[in-house]
Symmetry: C2
Subunit: 371 residues, 2 copies
């Protein structure tokens, strides 16, 4: 075993071949070596937004070049507004014009917008180039970079266009979390709480205890949480890569969460909306008798440690409208992942449930800003 593959990490099973998610402070310091080992290519196309490019990408491209690798940087304007088919086209054309060929490799360096967008560029460039994911946010490390989901947003909703394109390797270096604003850290940690809520009650408790250190990106707490979340997510997606069944459990909080986000015109954080979605789906589950009473309150106590911003007032009817266009809609009706209790999802039918629209409406009517 070489030094590089001895890094702490997790193996993820994917249809096109297994890949490693490496998690360790300082990993990016030996990126050229990791690229040679895990994703040998004639040329590397780094993709970063214009916040991350000067912070990290320019230095890493220079490191690669000084180690004899062909590397170029393609940047784009930071923000969710760039996660579009238009920006995907612009990046693709820039890479073609630069002469990138089928023996190239895309290197996505950034948060979830970058890993999703650059992943989709890679998935569709000459019918697919390998992609190396270098997540720089909690959200991207914990969630977006594992599992091979790529995509962009369209007018009708987020991630409605995209594909499954597992990475060649994921390199998560928690040292870069220091450059992430604290508010962004809180947003990303919501997905860690979700992993605890659906799969591991002890993990949820440890997150609640370590919340302050995690919000400060203290290296040991951050490394431990990222590694545990990646382990939990890897177990799920290794079992069900394409979301035909068990992978559904990771959608806890997301059916209502995505609808809230859309109803707010995407003016609220993803974490804020997913946190509210989890609490509302816990409430829904409790009212349906599927979820143990008190689960929502326990979840609320955990999530409060993240000091997320309040949800704005939203029209429940608008939210119900967006629920009908959710990707998880089957046979014309939205479906909800419901907990049995913290750390355990109710199997339902295909790991999700339908719910009477009147009941969903009631739950949404009762939501307030602290949900």
């Amino acid at each position: 075993m070489t030094e590089a593959s001895a890094s702490p990490g997790v193996s993820v099973h994917a249809e096109g071949g297994d890949y490693r998610v490496l998690v360790d402070a300082g990993l990016l310091g030996r990126l050229p070596k990791l690229l040679r080992e895990h994703a040998p290519a004639y040329r590397y196309a780094f993709v970063s937004d214009d916040n991350v490019a000067p912070l990290h990408a320019e230095r890493l491209v220079a490191d690669c070049r000084s180690e004899g690798l062909n590397a170029d940087l393609f940047d784009f304007p930071a923000g969710e507004a760039s996660k579009t088919r238009e920006q995907w086209s612009i990046l693709t054309d820039a890479m073609i014009d630069a002469g990138l060929g089928r023996d190239g490799c895309v290197v996505a360096l950034g948060g979830g917008v970058t890993t999703d967008l650059a992943g989709f560029v890679a998935a569709t460039f000459m019918r697919g180039l390998p992609v190396v994911q270098l997540p720089t946010s909690y959200l991207a490390m914990i969630d977006a970079s594992v599992g091979g989901k790529t995509g962009v947003d369209v007018r009708a909703g987020k991630n409605l266009v995209g594909s499954f394109h597992p990475p060649a390797v994921v390199v998560a270096d928690p040292e870069v979390l220091e450059t992430l604003p604290e508010a962004e850290r809180a947003q990303g940690l919501v997905e860690a709480f979700k992993h605890g809520a659906v799969l591991d009650v002890e993990y949820l408790e440890s997150l609640q205890e370590d919340a302050e250190a995690l919000l400060q990106a203290a290296p040991s707490a951050a490394s431990a949480a990222v590694l545990r979340s990646v382990q939990l997510k890897a177990e799920v997606v290794s079992e069900d890569e394409r979301e035909g069944g068990y992978r559904q459990v990771l959608n806890f909080g997301h059916t209502i969460g995505h609808a809230l986000e859309a109803a707010a015109g995407f003016a609220i954080g993803h974490g804020t909306s997913i946190a509210a979605g989890m609490l509302l789906e816990a409430e829904l589950g409790e009212r349906l008798g599927v979820t143990e009473a008190g689960t929502g309150e326990r979840l609320r106590a955990g999530l409060e440690t993240l000091k997320l911003p309040q949800l704005p007032q939203l029209d429940p009817e608008l939210v119900v409208g967006y629920l009908a266009t959710d990707k998880k809609v089957r046979s014309g009706r939205p479906r909800y992942v419901l907990l049995r209790r913290i750390g355990e999802v109710d199997p339902g039918y295909g790991w999700s449930h339908e719910a009477p629209e009147a009941l969903v409406r009631d739950v949404l009517q009762d939501m307030d800003g602290t949900t």
Copy 2:
């Protein structure tokens, strides 16, 4: 075995699961049954161009509805000019607006433009819906619908954006070839000759003998040729789905052919340019001593039976320029699939060869309109 799966056809191995290519006159008459059997879905989104829609699609959608299936028709302007990211976006948005969900299925009905474009819509719709391919041209039956390639053209070249997305099933009904203009039949049959040239000398000879019947779309000759081409192509793509190696052999004629097509501003038929590409690559192989002398002449005698239009005068320098942007470029240099003799490809390095640019230039200088 049910009646439907007893149809003549070929099984193709693909990463995401094997699929059947059914070939038989009259198959489309029992499409609803075939859809239920091979691609059960809550809803079917038919995609056709505005030539094929009134000829076949409207009737088939009506058949599906009368058999109790949810089916809708999405059409687009006929022609290669529609094989763009813009048209892909328009079709995607129309399907989202119509409420198509993850339990939907795309049904591509048409020629190669439609199978490629609708296949790419399916590949990227909510990260991938199943697609049923119903090819209506020789080209689509013989080539485009088998192997899972999907994609669109961009300014810099054809098929530079796309993905591998194997179909749920392919249903090729040679009866629909009657509605195809004879000139289009000749264009598509070029790919059949290519299959003979690289894999099966006896098949090449039978195509030459039956050329007149094939150009008239005589049902028995057409069914036999489509079935043999599909068998040959299926053997290749079953062995190498992603074109890492052996699948390269199907690119015979395509490195130069695509460059000719681009240099002519896509104003010449795909078949015409691939036919010329095969003859020029045969000549290149002969001059390199890789290809048996006389191979080009033998190939020319076969292709002449198709009575293809002449190639216009093209500037060799322009063609050389387009060769450098070919998708098959590796490490910055174009590569060529070269025959050893009719029916056998020289293994070269990864089933292709480099060639000195000066020699390629010489071969292109010597081309004339009858190449």
